[in-house]
């Protein structure tokens, strides 16, 4: 039960080492049942909350906080910890400044499905509890039970690592995940034309708000190849360099340009994607972006026998692969 998990989180946070300056955790959003990420001081533990609606990935905020001094404690689900690990491998995070409170994760709720399924008005909802395979929602002295399977974030069904691999303390019993590409294998059965028309239809809906890129903990580049105006200039950047800046993509928003945007973006996640699903969750047009990420993951696994959980970065491993 998540209320028990929350109590354990709070308990761990109260006995954190003295040199911890911040806790990156969840608090409940006002007016809605979901949690939001928050940077808390160690004396603000009482504000913390945790539920299957604590779906955001804290890695991005942790990376931001690395610019400040002090150590950081973070509440991390399996995929969150993997994003942290990846950032550590890429030297964006100093592990020794991090205290990971790992949470064994049964999966998170898809908030869109939840909003459709729940009969209460959002501000009225007092609590959302996952008990066994049911989500119990309480409001106005009433309760509604929703099967977890109806509202689970689909990506969690294929989670390879519900329990963080790297943590300082773990909350909850470790859960087993498995490598499962059955959804992708199913999709691969479609023929070329069907897949093409599927994706063109998908990409035609993209509005290029860049939310998928911005929420992604691994899309941290200051200069983005597929954003024509995103040029990191300094006072010393020569005019010629600015003038000759490669423009892979303009601001034209249509199915084919959007496809270029998404494919190039996804390719930069080869062997890196943490599988947290922030991109798909953020997309206001509900594009199935995880299908792309997972297909790529499958390729990297099958062709290069690489999993993002390995200690060395994917590209480094390619360098040391034996001939043939």
């Amino acid at each position: 039960m998540n209320s028990e998990i929350l109590e354990k989180i709070k308990e761990e946070c109260r006995k954190l080492p003295d040199d911890i300056s911040y806790i990156v955790g969840f608090v409940r959003k006002r007016g809605e049942p979901r949690e939001v990420l928050k940077v808390l001081k160690p004396d603000e533990v009482d504000r913390m909350s945790f539920s299957p609606l604590s779906f955001n990935n804290p890695a991005r905020i942790v990376m931001d906080l690395m610019k400040s001094d002090g150590k950081i404690a973070v509440i991390a689900k399996g995929c969150d910890a993997r994003a942290l690990k990846q950032l550590e491998k890429e030297e964006k995070i100093e592990r020794e400044r991090l205290y990971i409170i790992g949470v064994s994760c049964p999966g998170v709720i898809d908030y869109r499905k939840f909003r459709n399924a729940v009969k209460f008005r959002l501000p009225e909802i007092e609590s959302v509890e996952l008990v066994g395979d049911e989500v119990i929602v309480k409001a106005n002295g009433e309760e509604q039970r929703i099967p977890f399977s109806e509202v689970i974030f689909e990506n969690c069904l294929y989670c390879e690592q519900p329990t963080p691999k790297d943590y300082d303390v773990l909350i909850g019993e470790p859960r087993e995940g498995k490598l499962d590409f059955s959804d992708i294998e199913e999709f691969e059965k479609l023929d070329r034309e069907e897949r093409w028309s599927y994706w063109m239809e998908v990409f035609s809906k993209c509005i290029r708000c860049h939310a998928c890129r911005q929420v992604c903990p691994l899309c941290y580049c200051e200069e983005c190849l597929v954003d024509p105006s995103n040029l990191a200039v300094s006072p010393m950047t020569p005019a010629e360099e600015k003038a000759a800046y490669p423009r892979v993509l303009g601001k034209t928003v249509n199915a084919s340009d959007n496809m270029v945007y998404h494919l190039i973006r996804v390719l930069h996640h080869a062997g890196r994607c943490a599988g947290c699903g922030e991109c798909e969750r953020a997309c206001p047009m509900e594009l199935p972006l995880l299908k792309l990420e997972r297909k790529l993951k499958k390729v990297v696994y099958e062709v290069f026998n690489y999993s993002p959980d390995e200690e060395i970065p994917f590209l480094s491993k390619l360098d040391i692969l034996p001939e043939g």
Partner: protein, 281 residues
């Protein structure tokens, strides 16, 4: 089929066709500045005020905002262009006879009518001299309407001064031109130090005087303090603001500073207008 969209007079996004008729090197080196003299084709009149700007258009590269560098009392349009990005790099490659697009005049200029009878002091730094040049040319061409003219101008080195020949000539003709460079150089006969320090030395009398300052943000900031110490009121001080601009007609929001569109409500502002804002301009 013809519609209002086909007429530059009615479609403010459509540039006028213009030709480069003269190019002068102002500053050479890694951050070069060139002044372009531009003549409109198919259009004789182009009424503007000192301080207004134009969007200069190079198809395939885009548009950039430049304040008009000469006075409406002089022929053609002049723009001084620092090579800094896509459009300006292309402009620096262009030659006499090449065609560019001009949208404008845009924004609000200096209230030169209002200033009649006043002494005028312009305080400029680097390429910020551009709008000030338009003012002093105008005042010189309408000398009887204005009191004393003082031109205070400085740059990092003597090589970075714009409009050098013109300024030396004016000085020879007896105009009050106060030049400075930041660091000592052999054979430099004038002030050495920052522009605000030169201003302190000159000590202009605020009585019946309008001060206009333009240059790097830090210079403007310090100059403002010096002027206030000298007794200038905020409503005697003007500047022009710079922001990234795209549409030039107060729509696109790029240059929006709170409720103010720099391209439309400015670029010229009187200091008391800016000090009412929450954000630092």
């Amino acid at each position: 089929m013809s519609s209002v969209l086909d007429e530059p007079m009615k479609n403010p996004y459509l540039p006028y066709k213009a030709e480069i008729v003269e190019i002068r090197d102002e500053v050479k080196g890694v951050r070069p500045i060139k002044t372009f003299k531009i003549r409109l084709i198919e259009r004789e009149r182009f009424d503007y005020q000192s301080g207004q700007g134009c969007l200069v258009s190079v198809f395939g590269r885009g548009e950039s905002w430049f304040t008009i560098a000469n006075s409406p009392t002089r022929p053609d349009l002049e723009f001084s262009v620092l090579k800094t990005g896509k459009v300006t790099t292309k402009l620096h490659e262009m030659e006499v006879g090449d065609v560019v697009g001009i949208r404008g005049p845009l924004g609000r200029g200096f209230p030169l009518e209002e200033w009649k009878g006043m002494n005028i002091i312009t305080i400029g730094g680097g390429i910020g001299q551009t709008p000030l040049r338009s003012i002093y040319q105008y005042v010189i061409d309408n000398e009887k309407d204005y009191g004393d003219l003082t031109i205070v101008y400085g740059a990092r080195t003597s090589k970075d001064l714009c409009y050098k020949d013109e300024l030396f000539q004016l000085k020879e003709q007896g105009y009050n031109v106060e030049l400075s460079i930041d660091n000592p150089e052999p054979d430099w006969p004038y002030f050495v130090g920052f522009v605000p320090d030169n201003l302190k030395r000159i000590k202009p009398d605020p009585k019946d005087t309008i001060a206009i300052t333009c240059g790097p943000p830090i210079m403007i900031k310090i100059t403002l303090g010096v002027l206030k110490d000298l007794g200038f009121k905020e409503n005697q001080i003007y500047t022009t603001l710079e922001r990234r601009m795209k549409c030039g007609i107060g729509k696109c929001g790029k240059c929006k500073l709170e409720s103010v569109y720099v391209c439309r409500d400015g670029p010229v502002f009187r200091y008391d207008e800016l000090s009412r804002l929450l954000e630092e301009a």
